[in-house]
């Protein structure tokens, strides 16, 4: 290192804080975090209990019911949303293939957790998106948080989730929600902010209260964008259930994880394709529903 000889050490080797100090800081933070979690253990249990209950209920009814009933309900749901025989038929084919390959039960477990996490993400995301749309300050605060949530590797926030909630389905669910909620928030915010200013002014001119404006104008006009957010949220939840299998979520994700550990090429891909199948069903159905919502904007008159 000829160059280093000419330079003072300080400029050549990065002056890192010494290992001892970092170790002390690390230990202090870890331990105080653990202590905090321990002291609130009871509260945390109470808070997650309803989630646990709901998730178990859904999982039991999905896996426990006769497959033909579940399939019928799912197809009815897909048809109600899309009003398209093509999409419904595609969904039937995909689900039957999944069943034939022996993945029905695992798929049901995955469907249950995706359903719960999507509901949760919508329930959390829409109000936050609305607050963000109404206040520029809220937007300035929430946006960087969302940036972090979306770029932080999901394995990293599994660590505090496991520390707080332990190993199991609910921590997995929470990890999925954290991963899947940002597009819901962002697109709700965007949808409301894009609502035509003229129409809002008209609502004001007729004396709408803020709630009436939200209910009658902003939400309905933002709905197509909000639907796109729900679609994105479902896709991200499906992607995250695989990662969440590392903390104890069952279903297709666990099979994939086992396949990685044991180099089961075929099993890995079959489970992967099952996830792709569900993803496509959800995606097509929700997009078709979104398009149907916008039917009124078709210009019939030239």
């Amino acid at each position: 290192m000829a160059l280093c000889d000419a330079l003072p050490t300080l400029l050549c080797k990065f002056p890192a804080i010494d290992d001892g100090t970092i170790r002390v800081v690390r230990k202090t933070i870890d331990e105080s975090f653990k202590a905090l979690v321990r002291s609130y253990a009871n509260v945390i249990d109470v808070v997650v209990a309803p989630l646990q209950w709901f998730l178990n209920l859904l999982e039991r009814s999905f896996t426990g019911a006769p497959w033909i009933l579940v399939l019928a309900i799912l197809l009815a749901f897909v048809f109600a949303a899309s009003r398209s025989w093509r999409i419904t038929l595609g969904a039937a084919v995909a689900m039957l293939a999944i069943g034939l390959l022996g993945l029905w039960n695992d798929t049901m477990i995955t469907l249950a957790i995706v359903t719960v996490s999507t509901l949760l993400a919508v329930l959390i995301g829409i109000p936050i998106g609305i607050v963000m749309a109404r206040s520029d300050r809220a937007q300035r605060i929430v946006n960087p948080v969302l940036d972090v949530m979306q770029t932080m590797p999901s394995f990293v926030y599994l660590i505090p989730v496991v520390m707080i909630f332990g190993i199991g389905k609910v921590p997995g669910l929470i990890a999925v929600v954290i991963y899947a909620v940002p597009p819901m928030i962002r697109l709700t915010n965007l949808g409301i902010r894009l609502v035509d200013k003229e129409v809002l002014e008209a609502a004001d001119a007729f004396g709408s209260s803020p709630w009436q404006k939200l209910k009658n104008v902003q939400i309905p006009l933002a709905l197509p964008t909000i639907m796109a957010g729900i679609n994105q949220t479902i896709m991200m939840a499906l992607a995250m259930v695989v990662v969440a299998s590392m903390v104890g979520v069952g279903g297709l994700g666990r099979n994939v994880l086992q396949a990685i550990n044991n180099q089961f090429f075929t099993i890995g891909f079959l489970n992967g394709f099952a996830l792709v199948g569900i993803a496509i069903i959800f995606d097509r159905a929700s997009q078709a529903y979104g398009r149907r919502l916008q039917k009124h904007s078709e210009v019939v008159h030239g």
Binding site: D196, E198, V199, E201, A202, A203, D204, A205, F206, G207, S208, S209, Q212, N216, V217, P220, L221, L223, H296, S297, E298, V299, V300, H301
Partner: protein
């Protein structure tokens, strides 16, 4: 329900972060350009004083950027004034609390917008109901009242369509029906017809005039079109760069334009179809001569009557048939074709 006059007094609007700080400077004579250059604030309205007639049509005319849309938005306070008063029935709208303002907007005003501003996800009927829904009128009642107005503006059979399925002219009929269904005393029309093509525009003007004969609302109508202003306005105010440069009846503005700017506007007007006989008649002296021409007749029609009667003198009568004044062909033709000397000088 009687409509009252709207009084606008010393109204200033300065756009920018600290508009109120610059009112004094503007009052002392700082120009729009100077304000923009030195303080980066935009002068929207400067010392507006207009008394808008109760139960009549007040037209505010000006080109884009003149502040006319800003002005109309002060009447229902969609824009906050920087200083000044807007009085309706003795109450200053600018000082109302948020709740009072909302009640005022719900019950006293209705507005029609240039770009219609209909709710695209609602049918024509649901759009027309909107004001009543906001007021909390029950469903059946608001449906009934909305249908009445949908019919009056000629949209029967379209009530279950969506706005995007209608043409521009029909959409604006919905806008008008929505405003009228509110049954408010004040009707605010912000360039309501500017986006329509000329034939439909004239058609919609007729609709408004016919309705106004019976409704007698206090209408504030914004336009950039002088012909429209002259056709509709009981009183006209002309705005330029945020200032009122002339206000008065259409007859006054056409005959005595206040400055070169207005004269240039007025030059293109077909005076024979705007000026009325009572504007050019002279006091009666001596016996009543020639054919009787009812007051309110425009010059062109009067000239036609005179020439078909082969007379050079006529007399103007009121609706009861009593003579009001004397009209001679010379003055009539003179008023139709020539501008007044002052105006010509001003225009040069």
């Amino acid at each position: 329900m009687a409509s009252h006059a709207i009084e606008i007094r010393n109204l200033y609007k300065i756009f920018g972060a600290r508009g109120a700080d610059h009112v004094e400077a503007v009052r002392a004579g700082m120009s729009k350009t100077e304000l923009n250059a030195t303080h980066n604030h935009v002068l929207g309205l400067k010392d507006i004083n207009i008394s808008m007639p109760a139960g009549g049509v007040m037209v505010v005319m000006g080109l884009s950027g003149s502040g006319k849309s800003t002005l109309i938005r002060h009447i229902n306070r969609l824009i906050e004034p920087t200083s000044g008063e807007v009085l309706y029935d003795g109450v200053d709208i600018c000082r109302m609390s948020e709740l009072d303002l909302r009640e005022f907007r719900r019950h006293k005003t209705a507005m029609v917008f240039q770009k219609f501003a209909l709710l695209p996800h609602r049918t024509i009927l649901e759009n027309t109901c909107y004001g009543l829904e906001i007021q909390g009128v029950p469903g059946m009642e608001r449906r009934r009242r909305a249908m009445e107005w949908i019919e009056r503006v000629g949209l029967s059979g379209f009530e279950n369509r969506y706005p995007n399925q209608l043409s521009g002219g029909m959409q604006q009929r919905v806008g008008l029906a929505r405003a009228l269904t509110n049954d408010a005393e004040i009707l605010l029309m912000d360039e309501a017809y500017s986006a329509l093509d000329p034939l439909i525009r004239v058609d919609m003007q007729t609709v408004l005039l016919d309705l106004q004969k019976e409704l007698k609302k206090t209408v504030v109508f914004i336009t950039h079109d002088l012909d429209e202003a002259l056709r509709l306005g009981d009183k006209i105010a002309i705005l330029r760069d945020g200032e009122v440069i002339q206000q008065g009846s259409g007859q006054d503005i056409v005959r005595y334009p206040a400055d070169a700017y207005i004269a240039a506007f007025v030059k293109e007007v077909n005076r024979g179809r705007v000026l009325r006989v009572e504007t050019v008649m002279t006091p009666l002296s001596g016996p009543v001569e020639g054919p009787a021409i009812p007051a309110g007749t425009v010059l062109e029609a009067a000239a036609r009557d005179l020439s078909s009667a082969g007379a050079s003198v006529a007399h103007v009568v009121d609706p009861a048939g009593l003579p009001l004044g004397r009209l001679d062909l010379h003055a009539l033709v003179g008023a139709m074709v020539t501008e007044s000397t002052e105006a010509r000088e001003a225009a040069a």
